[in-house]
């Protein structure tokens, strides 16, 4: 995935280690919930067709837990490690100002999203309130249950990639008559293989004995008629 380098903004004052580890823990917990554990149990119920559609946060934020239960790699803080591709949402601003449309200044509140009135929203909370800023009609429909109904009733980020929003992720199931289920994540705006079209009509079954009987009868009749015609000429 291509990334754009965002301007680095150094934190002039180094945070005390306790505060840093607290943030790290928050991140770790958040990512553990979102990325490592089966998301179904944490947030969502299964839809009735048995599979789950979810935006994998671990596409950008791979997290590997060490033996101590903490992430083995340092999680990105601030903006220096972030290289995020913005599509569609790049209209929100020029380069870093686009990020600030939704994310709070990470120097102040890393890992938080911000609403126009200053309210902070943690990414583990109802992130959709941030989307509501622009997509208020869709948010209202989602609240009513009209939009994205019967999906895991989690946040908008659960279905849509907030950085490059497009089609949601749908996992393809195999053709109707096959056994076993394979799960593939499907990338956005690409065709996928749906469930198979209706099965073919049932074949016509004619009993073999009927075919034989018909052949015998037809040959007998043909020979009789042949004799009738030929015999006539002889007269």
């Amino acid at each position: 995935m291509s990334t754009t380098l965002l301007p680095v903004r150094q934190d002039p004052t180094s945070a005390p280690k306790a505060r840093q580890s607290w943030i790290l823990t928050v991140f770790a917990v958040a990512f553990a919930i979102l990325a490592i554990m089966p998301a179904a149990e944490a947030h969502a119920r299964l839809s009735s067709s048995g599979e789950l559609a979810f935006y994998p946060c671990d596409r950008c934020h791979p997290v590997f837990l060490g033996e101590d239960g903490l992430p083995t790699e340092p999680l990105p803080i601030g903006l220096e490690k972030h290289e995020v591709d913005l599509q569609v949402h790049d209209i929100l601003g020029n380069e870093e100002t686009a990020c600030l449309a939704c994310h709070d200044d990470p120097t102040r509140n890393p890992g938080k999203l911000i609403l126009p009135d200053g309210t902070l929203v943690d990414i583990a909370d109802d992130v959709s309130r941030v989307c509501q800023r622009c997509h208020f009609e869709k948010y209202q429909q989602w609240e009513l249950g009209i939009h994205g109904k019967n999906q895991p009733k989690c946040t908008a980020a659960g279905c849509h990639n907030p950085h490059s929003p497009s089609w949601i992720y749908v996992e393809a199931l195999p053709p109707f008559l096959a056994t076993g289920i394979e799960v593939h994540a499907v990338s956005e705006r690409e065709p996928f293989t749906p469930l198979a079209s209706p099965p073919l009509p049932p074949p016509v079954h004619t009993p073999l004995w009927l075919t034989i009987l018909t052949t015998v009868g037809t040959l007998a009749s043909a020979s009789i008629i042949g004799v009738l015609i030929v015999g006539r000429h002889k007269r």
């Binding site: 009509p201 016509v204 079954h205 004619t206 009993p207 009987l213 018909t214 009868g217 007998a220 009749s221």
Partner: protein, 433 residues
């Protein structure tokens, strides 16, 4: 062997319900007759076996599937009903229009009409997986469903035809009753075939069929093919010595046939123009009609046009219209053409479904073919046995009871003209009148 009215005292003749059944004629029938009957019995038996297979193994033995919903049984129903109604037109014209030249055909025409509509109804019955559910037609019929009208009309028409035949043979009620029966039978035949056309036409969901011109096309095709079949039937009866007809009668039939054929072709042309004309063309309709010319059954529809126009071309010239070869060929061509027409009309209607999807073409399965052939054999069996057993010739005194017609002289002049042509074998006249 001349067949005339036989007195009841002749051996081998049984009188039942007032009709003299000449069973003795069966005993004296030759081996060729029985060989033919055997062939018919073979196919009828195969048809019955096919029907039993259908009843026991379910509808899967038919080739009809979800989107090709109706099959050979329905196109045959339309076809036989048409043939039946058409033959009756000839007979009815005797009484309604005073076309006395057709009177010798009277009993044969009515017998043919009755047998054909019986075969049509049996074809309907063979489509029922559970035939006993048929009684719901009588208990809760739906007045907006056209099937109710066509089914009841066919049943009533069959009864009417056989009753008419009985009246003709027994002579009960004389000319007046026969005349009145015609006044009922002919409109009923028209009504029957109109409702049959409506079964296809009154469906807004099927663009190809939803046209008012279906009704007149059906009526003209029916009349023409019925007349053609009657002509062939009459020739066959004459060939085997069962009946004797005048050449002038055949010529009149041929003229009638030519007239109706050209009307039929004209109506078809009108429909085609309406569908394809630039200011009238709709994609759904043109796509479906184009299948007639380029689709999987084009090989069956193009002959309809070729045979139809060819039949008319054969019959059009007045100088050759009297030739039996011409008449029989044209009639056979047209009978086959109308069968193809009914079949392609039905299957092309299904070729593109209601959701615009192309369906695989429908070809009847073996069981369906057996049923169709079995029913045809059954009909032929009725006609073959009826030819021997029933008194089909119209006796002399009935001719005399008819009113005087001035055009008899014209016909006799025609006969003399034909006799003057070389190559014509002069015929013994049936009566001297």
């Amino acid at each position: 062997m001349d067949v005339t009215d036989v007195p009841a005292t002749r051996p081998g003749v049984k009188r039942l319900i007032g009709v003299d059944f000449d069973l003795g004629a069966l005993r004296t029938a030759g081996p060729r007759y029985w060989a033919f009957v055997t062939v018919l019995l073979i196919f009828t038996t195969l048809g019955i076996i096919g029907w039993i297979v259908f009843l026991t193994q379910g509808a899967g033995v038919m080739a009809q599937r979800d989107n090709t919903t109706w099959g050979l049984w329905f196109s045959n129903y339309m076809y036989y009903v048409g043939l039946s109604a058409g033959g009756l037109v000839v007979y009815a014209s005797v009484h309604l229009f005073g076309a006395e030249q057709f009177r010798p055909l009277a009993r044969l025409a009515v017998l043919q009409a009755g047998v054909l509509v019986m075969v049509a109804l049996l074809g309907d019955l063979t489509d029922f997986v559970r035939p006993w559910r048929f009684f719901w037609f009588v208990v809760t019929p739906n007045p907006t469903a056209i099937f109710v009208y066509t089914g009841s009309a066919a049943a009533a028409y069959m009864v009417l035809c056989f009753a008419d035949l009985w009246i003709l043979i027994t002579g009960k009620g004389g000319e007046k009753l026969a005349h009145r029966m015609t006044l009922i039978a002919l409109p009923f035949a028209m009504y029957l075939h109109t409702t049959t056309a409506f079964v296809l036409a009154l469906n807004k969901s099927r663009e190809l069929w939803n046209s008012a011109v279906m009704v007149p096309i059906f009526l003209t095709s029916a009349t023409a093919s019925g007349v053609a079949l009657l002509l062939i039937c009459a020739y066959i009866m004459q060939h085997f010595g069962v009946l004797k007809f005048k050449k002038s009668m055949f010529r009149s039939l041929a003229t009638l046939l030519a007239t109706v054929i050209i009307i039929d072709l004209f109506l078809l042309l009108a429909e085609i123009i309406t569908v394809y004309w630039p200011t009238a063309a709709k994609l759904g309709h043109t796509e479906r009609m184009t299948l007639f010319f380029t689709g999987p059954y084009a090989w069956m529809f193009l002959p309809v046009l070729v045979l139809g126009i060819g039949a008319f071309a054969l019959l059009a010239p007045r100088s050759t219209r009297h030739l039996p070869k011409i008449q029989i060929t044209a009639s056979a061509m047209y009978v086959v053409a109308i069968f193809f027409k009914r079949y392609t009309l039905m299957s092309m209607g299904f070729s593109i479904g209601t959701l615009g999807q192309y369906e695989t073409p429908y070809l009847p399965s073996l069981v369906e073919i057996l049923l169709a052939v079995g029913l045809v054999s059954l009909g032929l069996l009725f006609m073959t046995i009826g030819a021997k057993v029933l008194p089909l010739a119209v006796p002399e005194h009935e001719h005399e009871e008819a009113h005087y017609e001035p055009w008899r002289t014209e016909l006799e002049e025609d006969d003399a003209e034909e006799a003057a042509h070389p190559g014509i074998v002069p015929e013994r006249a049936l009566d001297a009148g």
